[in-house]
């Protein structure tokens, strides 16, 4: 996966995700949302809304992809598709 598209880097997306996972330290793309970060239903919703707010993607175009996401890299891929579509 490309590490940078436009001005949004993987690291930036990870930092945005971290805003919804306050207990986590440094987040990396290979981390599991549930096993590593303990993301629950409300946590995933928080992540989706934060990504929408900070990256400008239309999150509702990708609801099924967000539901199926298991790893941080899955979320990064969704943001990239959303950014490319804009």
């Amino acid at each position: 996966m490309s590490t940078e598209t436009g001005t949004i880097t993987d690291a930036t997306i990870c930092r945005i995700i971290a805003g919804a996972v306050p207990r986590a330290g440094s987040i990396t793309p290979s981390m599991s949302l549930q096993a590593d970060l303990g993301v629950d239903s409300v946590g995933l919703m928080s992540i989706v809304f934060l990504l929408e707010e900070h990256t400008g993607i239309d999150a509702f175009e990708y609801v099924q992809e967000f539901i199926a996401a298991e790893y941080v890299c899955d979320l990064i891929a969704i943001v990239r598709r959303g950014s490319d579509a804009r």
Binding site: A20, L33, Q34, A35, V39, D40, S41, V42, L44, M45, S46, V48, F49, L50, A59, F60, V63, Q64, F66, I67, A68, E70
Partner: protein, 318 residues
Amino acid sequence: MTSRIIDFHCHVAAEMCFPPSFRDGVIDNITVALEARGMPVSKAKVAKLYAGTLQDPLCDQLVAEMDEAGISEAVLLIPDFTHALPDSTHTIEELIDHHRLVRDRHPGRFRIFAGVDPRWGEDGIALFERSIAEYGFDGMKLYPPCGYTLSDRLLYPFYEICAAYRVPVLTHIGATAPVLDFELAQPIHIDQAARDFPGVDFVFAHATVHYTDECAMLCNNRPNLYLDVSGYEASASARLNALLRRGINHKVLFATDWPIFRLQGRQATFIDRLITDGAIPDTMPESERAMFFAGNATRLLGKKKVTHPPISKGALHG
């Protein structure tokens, strides 16, 4: 992990099965939780995301996830909200017909438990018996928060049908969408019915997270009472571990409550986490694991008599 898995508690993931007022209450709770986490968002946005979890009306995604998780069969439950919640978009007859369609689309993968609110009277009794005798359904689903208790005499004609056909009754236990009455959903309300119908097996849903001690006590002392563990996905692995150490594993049924926890992972994830999160005690013998994952479900579902003279008036006449 184990050779066979039966999921005793699933629903069709479709908005038609959950009336708007039911969904609104769930969304209210999520919105409050988001706001508390410093994430004020409109209910409309939460509703749109939540609706995404209810877009598998024919259960194709569920079957794919069952395959991935090694779940051979699942029980699909039809709670009847249509009497209690007037904004239901489909009648209970339409919901039952839809579940027949789903079952026939995936041969051998689903058993169906029909719910019929007892206040529908003779028509409801006939519809329920038809679901067993004619449609081949395998049990009854009850939802007391809709406005009745488990020993309500209005339910006794349904229990007579369950006794005649030897099919189990699974009941919701505990809190639910805030539009409904929580107080009615206490497990002790089963006691009179369980005594009056010793030939009917009753299953408490969500006993890992709701009234765990009371459910376990009742199951330990009444031969025809069982419990399912759905809800353990909500950070309740330690509670499930404790439940599986109580010496009643011949009464405990594996269950997930699909699609309620779809935002927390796939069915395979939840199976894996039984081990990785320590929900299954290290000391649990293989024979008890086999009962938990499939043996108890097989035993309950295997008692059914496929033919029986009709109990209700007009059961086979529509």
